[in-house]
Symmetry: C2
Subunit: 281 residues, 2 copies
Amino acid sequence: MQREIVLVEGAGFCFGVKRAIDIAFDVAKIHKKGVFTLGPIIHNPQVVEKLQELGVKPIEDISEQNDIKTLIIRAHGISKKRLDELKSLGYEIIDATCPFVKKAQSIAEKLDSEGYQVLIIGDKEHPEVKGIFSYAGQKAVVVSNCNEIPILNKKLGIIQQTTQPLSKVKEILNAIINSLSEFEEIRIFNTLCNFTAKRLESTGKVAKDVDIMIVIGGKNSANTTQLANLCKKMGVKTYHVENTQEIDKNWFKDVKKIGITAGASTPQWIIDEIIDKIKCL
Amino acid sequence: MQREIVLVEGAGFCFGVKRAIDIAFDVAKIHKKGVFTLGPIIHNPQVVEKLQELGVKPIEDISEQNDIKTLIIRAHGISKKRLDELKSLGYEIIDATCPFVKKAQSIAEKLDSEGYQVLIIGDKEHPEVKGIFSYAGQKAVVVSNCNEIPILNKKLGIIQQTTQPLSKVKEILNAIINSLSEFEEIRIFNTLCNFTAKRLESTGKVAKDVDIMIVIGGKNSANTTQLANLCKKMGVKTYHVENTQEIDKNWFKDVKKIGITAGASTPQWIIDEIIDKIKCL
């Protein structure tokens, strides 16, 4: 039986992660030794393993290694201070920080230099936020919900962790606007990467038009689970899988049209393997 | 019987109106002839009459007069084009534009020159808004409620007519924030004059503590009526009067403490006359 497979536009890695991984593989081709990524390049063991086979190793602490020649900065970015330190140690630095994160860092730095207190909407423990925060000056604050907004300066510059949900950002902005009379100026830059929202939207469109949906990604991945829940909510039969082994041919009986989507941490080759397996069933 | 009279702080003219009137009276002392105000300096016939006695006449159209030497710009301000025209005609221009309005004009000009589309929250027919609008560039828009927000540019600068109610401003800002994903940057300057809000607050405090409240100002004045309504709502006996003639001595039987407040268009001498009359009852 001939089956049609529809792959959702933007399924899998986001632009910044894809770019960082491509950079790591490119560097691995050029340098055979002494290449390290500062922290795992992505929270996906298969990708990290593949890179290790090519000689690119993740390290947390540079003092653990004395054969470092090249250091790759992952998509999240790092703090200004750490970047300066690493540069001063004479390593070759390959900066694979996502351009959207880089933009947020540079807006934070500009706002601080122009006298704004910088407020970052995001999770203060997230590496991306730690990096951005280091560019945002002494007065900077990180806010993750409406209940923790501190007393703020009269001239306020607001940016966001690139992956924050739009709904939460709006909620915090509205709470700040409610105290408008306490401010001289509120300057809001949109530093959100709307990739996740777009993928969700595209997934919804495909789900409407197929017999079953295969959602690929970690079972504990928040964004993948969100994709699966959306499909289920739309009434289409949905399977959330992590790899080809989980694919069951009984799912595809009498199925003519199959939709495929994947979370932000799912590499393209896993998507390709699953598509190949379905084609061969 | 000894009565105590408490005058609300900030009762009567706002800072900008008071300043413009003071300037007009000062000019009248120096120049004996050829002094005009562009439009009535305030919508209060008694003030306009007093100035006319001193030789300062209101005109709408400069072509009506050929003996103009000095022109006073009133607190609302005028358009950039008109100001330039008047200057080029060689008149002495005394600019009594309220400093808060002047600030809004200059922010509008700066935002436009830095590539922002300027959005003014206010009443597009109001002279103040017409003046500010003339500084705000080709792309500028005026918005008075949530239902009339047009499609906006990605880089938006927002200011307010100085006397807009804070609640309405917040509502419109929240509606714009709701479309955050359509913007690169939203830059909000607080150009509100919080005088009206402060007067309302001070009136409420006095009303709590007196036996009756005398609210002075035009019966058709929105801000005076708002003051009277607040006092009534607080359960204190309240009289809304325009002049001394309306004061009735029967109101003050067994009254020990009298609160007095006044709307933004009420001159100080009317307040003084009424206080004097009450003292003599």
